[in-house]
Amino acid sequence: MEALDIISYFLLLGLLLVSVKVVTTSNVIHAAISLVFTLAITAATFLLLSAEFVALVIVLVYIGAVIVLFLFGIMITRAPLGQNAELDNDKNKSLALVVSLSIFVIFSYVMFNTFDSQIIVTTGTSTELLGEILLSRFVFPFEVVSFVLLAALIGGITLARQDNALVDENQI
């Protein structure tokens, strides 16, 4: 067993633990913070897999921006901060546990059988190559996806802003 293997086991165990925390904690802020940790560990895993650019993107986009959005969402919807017993739907809990566990079992079974002895060979940095490919071969999807992002931005603003009439009154 090599050092990298041990590190990866630790990372993945931590990943699972903090992600469980995301869905079980009864404190919304704690859930968001746990998600930050989940994402951070994911980023570390990506570094381990020599996907450092994706790791960087995760850190910048998710931890930097998306989590902030979530915190805003939590505050704007006045979710009760601190401990809150009402956060979970207790009726669903047992059934949800069954469903998610079955899915986990099925997935694991498939992964176990299919990728039994697959070995990952890490090849050092890949960022330069990634940039080249992204802006040559995949430049069209890249542009399309940026257009989608723009559309989402405009859509989000349109949805979230006040009624036109109200806005006008406010301005006056």
Binding site: V99, S102, I103, I106
Partner: protein, 672 residues
């Protein structure tokens, strides 16, 4: 997409020409615009200050300006090109639409543009306050547009489409006052007579297309001048069939019967129809296919000539006895069309087109003048006119100019064109036909003078006080009078023969007869015949007797009856074609119907009722209905239970969905 051709095989001809440049490329505009305009008028016309007339006027004005420029281009450098848009194919035939810009087309564009714009201006005033004013302008615009589709067509298919469109529009316009039975039946008559002829055209086009393997007119003409065997074997048939089509539209004997009845339409329609559009279509077709006739179907040309000569004489004779001013002009149109067709038949391409050109202007003038008179006296009958010289001086002057032009006195337009036709008949050695054509000139002069005398001279015999028409109506008259005087000067043998060059820009190298100088024998005979006709009519109607009983003076009973009954042609059609169809055939069919078909049907009916009762009571009520009721009530009961699943809670739906996913995954994993 657009595929343009400088019409190359004509390079063998002597005239230099170009492809017309940008303007030729955009000629499709004048074809498409009327249709757009018609749509606009239909939908928005009623809300506009002039009730849609302004759109029509703007469109036709544009067409006039555009075609004038094209004519200028053609005069200065000669234009011959065609453009194709391929829209698909049927079997080995390309479906192509497009537009031709060559001498013949440009001449037609200009005639349509000029006459139509003047008629439109005239109509805005003439039709003031009439029913369906806006719709009238829609149809009128469509009419002009359809004619442009026809004359711009580089393929036989598009020509046929334009041909039929013209027919439909004429139906709409002739039947404009459809509330009166005779008007709607006149429209019907025009449509059906044309349709009968169209069958000939259609078969002719099919024959041509199958034997040449193309719909392109230029390609067909190329083959007909280069001895293609497959075409040669059917050339006579195709030539005659095409001519049958032309007989319908151009009102050649014996299919001319629709045209006088078409006078039921408003006068601007008559003017447009008889001058620039519709009736010229047949002559245009013959002229367009002229190289084909010359090259391969010269026997068919004899048929063309024969019918042309018959028409010009027979229709002219009928015109003498008509009391309706518009009908005189209508038969005169038929007669003049006979001249044009006869010219084509004698191989004088230019002469026919030249007469079409001059005739368009003076006949439009005469019709609009007649309309002006009718507008003033509120009747078509010349028996109730007379003495309008003093009341309507402008109409009178222009009408007189039109009459002289039609009669063929120098130096007005009709003189040159009619002379050229007579000269070519004389040159071709058709002595009998030449004599008849000269007699036709005499008749023309006679009936026109008669019409003028009865309308404008003597005392007023109608009721009320006629007044000169509005300037909106007289201005087009004056402009047309200008054309009627000058239009003939573009082709004076020995002096200036520009017109010959215009219309022969793309003509094939086959020789047609074109007089280099005046044929003095033809000229003298034509002129003398005209003068004699004028003199005799003036003597008979003005000097010898009062116009109201003037007709009596020269009645020669049998002939007169024959003429007044239009050679019994309508009676013939009714007696031997329409009534037999209606009575004998219809009665037989009726008897067959009542005795055999009806009985059988009744038997079926009774049996069906009997069977139906059984089916209804036992099968339907007892079986199907019950089953349906049970199924619906059970569905209802089931639904009441199942609907509880629809909680509206998204998470439960996700749960169901995931449970399904799990089940399917397990199935795949365990079973497969």
């Amino acid at each position: 997409m657009v595929n343009s051709n400088l019409i190359t095989f004509l390079a063998e001809g002597k005239v230099t020409y170009t492809d017309g440049g940008t303007f030729a490329e955009y000629t499709w505009l004048i074809v498409v615009l009327p249709f757009i305009a018609a749509l606009l008028i239909t939908f928005f016309g009623k809300y506009l200050p002039l009730k849609g007339a302004e759109i029509a006027l703007a469109t036709i004005g544009f067409i006039f300006a555009f075609s004038s420029y094209l004519l200028y281009l053609n005069v200065t450098e000669g234009v011959a090109s065609e453009f194709f848009i391929n829209v698909g194919s049927i079997g080995s035939f390309d479906l192509e639409f497009g537009w031709v810009v060559d001498g013949l087309s440009i001449m037609m564009y200009f005639v349509v543009g000029t006459v139509a714009s003047l008629v439109f201006i005239y109509a805005t005033n003439y039709m003031q306050g009439e029913v369906r004013y806006t719709f009238f302008f829609t149809s009128l615009t469509l009419f002009a547009g359809s004619m442009l589709v026809l004359v711009s067509s580089p393929t036989l298919l598009q020509l046929l489409i334009g041909w039929e469109l013209v027919g439909v529009c004429s139906y709409l316009l002739i039947g404009h006052y459809w509330e009166k039975k005779e008007n709607s039946s006149a429209a019907m008559k025009a449509f059906i007579t044309n349709k009968i002829a169209d069958v000939g055209l259609m078969i002719g086009i099919i024959v041509l297309a199958l034997s040449t393997g193309t719909m392109r007119i230029s390609e067909i003409l190329y083959q007909s001048t280069h001895d293609y065997e497959s075409l040669k074997s059917v050339a006579y048939l195709a030539g005659v069939l095409l001519f049958i089509g032309a007989m319908g539209k151009s009102a050649q004997f014996p299919l001319h019967v629709w045209l006088p009845d078409a006078m039921a339409g408003p006068t601007p329609v008559s003017a447009l129809m008889h001058a620039a559009t519709m009736v010229t279509a047949g002559v245009y077709l013959l002229a367009r296919m002229f190289p084909f006739y010359e090259g391969m179907a010269s026997e068919a040309l004899d048929v063309v000539l024969l019918f042309g000569v018959i028409t010009l004489f027979a229709a002219g004779m009928i015109a003498i006895v008509q009391d309706d001013l518009k009908k005189v002009l209508a038969y005169s149109t038929v007669s003049q069309l006979g001249y044009m067709v006869a010219a084509i038949g004698s191989g004088a391409y230019t002469a026919a087109l030249f007469h079409l050109w001059t005739h368009a202007f003076f006949k439009a003038l005469l019709f609009l003048g007649a309309g002006s008179v009718i507008h003033a006296v509120h009747t078509n009958s010349m028996k109730e006119m007379g003495g309008l010289k003093k009341e309507m001086p402008r109409t009178y002057t222009t009408f007189i100019l039109g009459t002289i032009a039609l009669t063929g006195l120098p130096p007005l337009a009709g003189f040159f064109s009619k002379d050229e036709i007579l000269a070519s008949l004389n040159h071709g050695g058709y002595n009998t036909y030449f004599a008849i054509a000269v007699a036709g000139a005499f008749i023309t002069a006679f009936y026109m003078t008669r019409a003028v005398v009865l309308t404008f001279f003597g005392e007023y015999r109608g009721n009320g006080h006629p007044h000169e028409s509005d300037s909106m109506m007289t201005t087009p008259l004056i402009v047309l009078a200008g054309f009627a005087v000058t239009a003939g000067w573009v082709n004076i043998p020995g002096i200036y023969t520009g017109f010959t060059d215009w219309v022969t820009t793309r003509k094939n190298p086959i020789v047609e007869y074109h007089p280099e100088s005046f044929d003095y024998f033809a000229l003298t005979s034509g002129l003398l015949a005209g003068l004699a006709g004028i003199g005799l009519a003036y003597y008979v109607y003005q000097i010898l007797g009062r116009p109201e009983d003037g007709d009596e003076k020269i009645k020669v009973e049998p002939i007169w009856n024959l003429l007044e009954n239009k050679y019994y042609l309508d009676d013939f059609y009714f007696k031997y074609i329409i009534n037999p169809t209606k009575s004998t055939l219809a009665n037989t069919v009726d008897r067959f119907n009542t005795n055999i078909l009806d009985k059988a049907v009744n038997l079926f009916g009774v049996a069906a009722i009997f069977l139906g009762n059984i089916v209804y009571n036992k099968f339907d009520q007892g079986g199907i209905d019950k089953a349906l009721n049970i199924s619906s009530s059970s569905t209802d009961a089931l639904g009441a239970r199942v609907k509880l699943l629809q909680t509206g809670k998204a998470q439960q739906y996700i749960m169901y969905f995931l449970s399904g996913v799990i089940v399917i995954s397990l199935l795949i994993l365990l079973v497969l």
